[in-house]
Symmetry: C2
Subunit: 291 residues, 2 copies
């Protein structure tokens, strides 16, 4: 994992984490949305904001692609884009009944987790999802996971069936997943089968590892991304927990010159929903302050 080091005349270094910003699934969903925006005239909507980033959502609005919180009868929806997080099975079936074109931009990693949840439930496993039950991605996966499914987000393990299948929210950190799996195994005295599929997104775990490596060697970490983005918040928490001074910002305007006055190295990382242009603006702003 090589990170890009940008030196400046005052011997301050800016270290940009390799893989910061859009992950594969988000990049794909945004490319699809902009592609649709260019080729379709009207009535194009995304179900929920395409990603957890207000700047991208605004840019799409300018091109005529609007986010919908709920399906409304009033709106004349011709084309509906499903975002990277995916949606619950029931909602998908509801949309399919309507007279509109569906463009499914669900991340292939999330789609795989949904399929595995459905396969495990069909084969008689109680599906255990390691993740955040409030997250739209988890709500989507959960809807495929059968009536016995549960979501676990800590090492407190409830009573489970004898045959369980474990999957994970794609953006969960591997260390946390391992901790929960260990507790789960320790809590089982009479089990029949435990089947664990790795549904973690490789991009997310690599970004976490690369961020950890950079955070270990800098005086300050700037984490760029929507305040409502779970994976950006996770990056900020990781850096704070490592004891490095950390600021979670949404854009370059939030940077305070005082933050970087008395330090030598600044690390920058960004969540999966942060576009490159925002990262570039942050780097430019920091350069402006230290030059």
């Amino acid at each position: 994992m090589i990170s890009c080091i940008i030196k400046n005349s005052m011997q301050k270094n800016i270290v940009l984490v390799e893989g910061a910003g859009f992950c594969f699934g988000v990049k794909r969903a945004i490319d699809i949305a902009f592609d649709v925006a260019r080729n379709y005239k009207e009535g194009v909507f995304t179900l929920g904001p395409i990603i957890h980033n207000p700047h991208v959502v605004e840019k799409l609005k300018e091109l005529g692609v609007y986010p919908l919180e709920e399906l409304s009868k009033e709106k004349s929806i011709k084309t509906l884009i499903i975002r990277a997080h995916g949606i619950p099975k029931e909602k998908f079936n509801e949309i399919k009944q309507k007279d509109m074109e569906i463009i499914d931009a669900t991340c292939p990693f999330v789609k795989r987790a949904q399929s595995l949840a459905e396969k495990l439930a069909t084969e008689g496993y109680q599906v255990v999802i390691i993740g955040d039950r409030e997250h739209p991605e988890v709500q989507g996966i959960f809807s495929y996971a059968g009536p016995d499914a549960i979501v676990i987000n800590s090492s407190e393990i409830p009573i489970l069936n004898k045959k369980i299948g474990i999957i994970q929210q794609t953006t969960q950190p591997l260390t946390k997943v391992k901790e929960i799996m260990n507790e789960l195994i320790n809590s089982r005295n009479e089990f029949e089968e435990i089947r664990i599929f790795n549904t973690l997104c490789n991009f997310t775990s690599k970004r976490l590892q690369a961020t950890e490596k950079v955070a270990r060697n800098v005086d300050l970490m700037i984490v760029v991304g929507g305040k409502n983005s779970a994976n950006t918040t996770q990056l900020a928490r990781l850096c704070k927990n490592m004891g490095v001074k950390t600021y979670h910002i949404e854009n370059a305007q939030e940077i305070n010159k005082e933050w970087i006055e008395c330090i030598t190295t600044i690390g920058i990382t960004a969540g999966a929903s942060t576009p490159q242009w925002i990262i570039d603006e942050v780097i430019d702003k920091i350069k402006e302050f230290i030059n």
Copy 2:
């Protein structure tokens, strides 16, 4: 788990562990062997001693059932009994080619472990067997587990494939199995699937738990069973590790009166290959000493 308490006039207690002695699979194999002995005239052999207990083997010899170490051309084998441990697939196929009747007394729990090993290997899993590679049961299971199979007996985890299926030697202690599974999960950074089938024998784990409970409350433990029986040795080790004075004996003749002179409570447990009559003799001998 209720244990049987035998009180005597001198206020010494003998506590017999519930489930001590023959497990289901061993009892079944011995019943089959004695049944064959009663109904067949000659040429009846068991492949290896029917169980790890010289007394049972002697009794069967008296009835005309002899243990064979290897298949020999000279011997006129008419009927061959496969013992509870099971045998390797290749040996089973070799026997099938010969002109003899096969009576398969493999323990159904071991048979299930063999079938799961074969199923996992066929479905592309690297089979990981938690157990003792020298044990005949493990050698049998291993022969069904495909070319990539490995046996693990400690928390030192080798490099494994991305898709692994885990099974256990039926008599392994659950605590040890959990420790190894935890280490295995912690050692994995990039895995595709981990599928764990519980192939532990319920009888064995219940006997271990019941022995532990009794050992906690007595002054002395007497563990009865063949010195070459892995599960009897395991019971003796458990008691010793708990800090209670422990003797591993094969029969009542080995008991020394001095062992029980200055103590109040004596616990007795026995491995899966120890017949009831030997346990009864041990109890009678102790009663004789303390009366």
